[in-house]
Amino acid sequence: MKYLDEYRNEALALKLAEEIRRVVTRPWVLMEVCGGQTHSIVKYGLDHLLPPEVELVHGPGCPVCVTSLELIDRAHAIASRPDVIFCSFGDMLRVPGSAGDLLLLKSRGADVRVVYSPIDCLKIARANPDKKVVFFAIGFETTAPANAMSVWLARKQGIRNFSLLVSHVLVPPAIASILESPHNRVQGFLGPGHVCTVMGYHEYEPLAERYRVPIVISGFEPLDILQATLMLVRQLEAGVWRVENQYPRVVQQIGNRPAQELLGQVFEISDRKWRGVGEIPRSGYRLRDEFCEYDAEQIFGVAEIATQEPAECISGLILRGAKKPCDCPAFGKRCTAEHPLGATMVSSEGACAAYYAYGRHLEMRDPS
């Protein structure tokens, strides 16, 4: 496919890796923010191409992974109701809540449906006027415009049996939270290309300045990631910290203005609890009061459900880049893709799932 295949060219990938090797003189720890980037890195073995000085740690950019356990329990409470059709992206169906996952609820008769796009829910709502259609609105800034549009269109079209269970998270506060941590090791970031397609990258400039950390907005294909890594290493070696854009074919500094305008009309910034990490101030979106009649938490009175997370899974440390999947004693043993203990193993973009899918647990057993 055009704009994908050419960025997977093996000869160029090897050249980029060679150039990184030529430029690097000291150890550097880099974090890729997005789960999609993590997936590419492990799938194509990009970390194995890099010189030993360059270490990649995996960031929190997997919305399925960071959706808090209590929100999943709230989703289950809503989806269990006989008058509800509960719609979600497919990834969320297998995420374990306190008592099983949404697939288990579906097997017990709940009407749980996978949709490709949130606006598909409007069709379902129109076709089922006697039911309440709820969409599990998860995602970063990339997905928020689609979810905002679904609510905006529902109001415009007079659809009243539709609502959102909102779990939106924002990248810049998460980066700040990682850099504020006393255990932080990250010295440079591969920035979130598709988040910046929507939001632009001016928000990252104060972060780079304040924490003196270079940020390179990066695409998702192997050559994108290697080129962004080279740009980061060059900045680090030169002792500078700028925001650079490796992905100008889709990212502009100002982002997508029409999307930002609708986001501002529908959502407002709120505190948000991240699974495994805890609450990060001003790190999410909630519906504005003008749209409260579309807020599933208020409609179904589930906001009081509060859940403590189990201790065994170290996904919180993995999401902050403090640990890697291989550091977890349960990884590939008690925790597998078939029987996940926590969210980073459930989502295909979670670091643990990526390591498991591409056999990194087998490398641990057989170092040869």
Partner: protein, 96 residues
Amino acid sequence: MCLAIPGKLFETREDAHGVRMGRANFGGIVKEVCLEYTPEARPGDYILVHVGFALSRVDEDEAERTYRILEELKQLDELEELEESEPENGPGREVP
């Protein structure tokens, strides 16, 4: 989750509710796409699509520029290899 894929837009229209929609081809798979956030997109353009929404028109000039930088890196390297194998005062390579 933030997965977004470039597809070629080949048709645009307004749906029954006045929403700007289009159809795009993703390597042979055709999908309906909402174009409300990319009013500038025209048939023939490549658009970046996430959960049924076009978020950006792919900038072909920028795509080419990025790729050219990568290609140049490769050519530069080949040039260096060539220089290494042919010392300045050496006999050079015989043409068969």
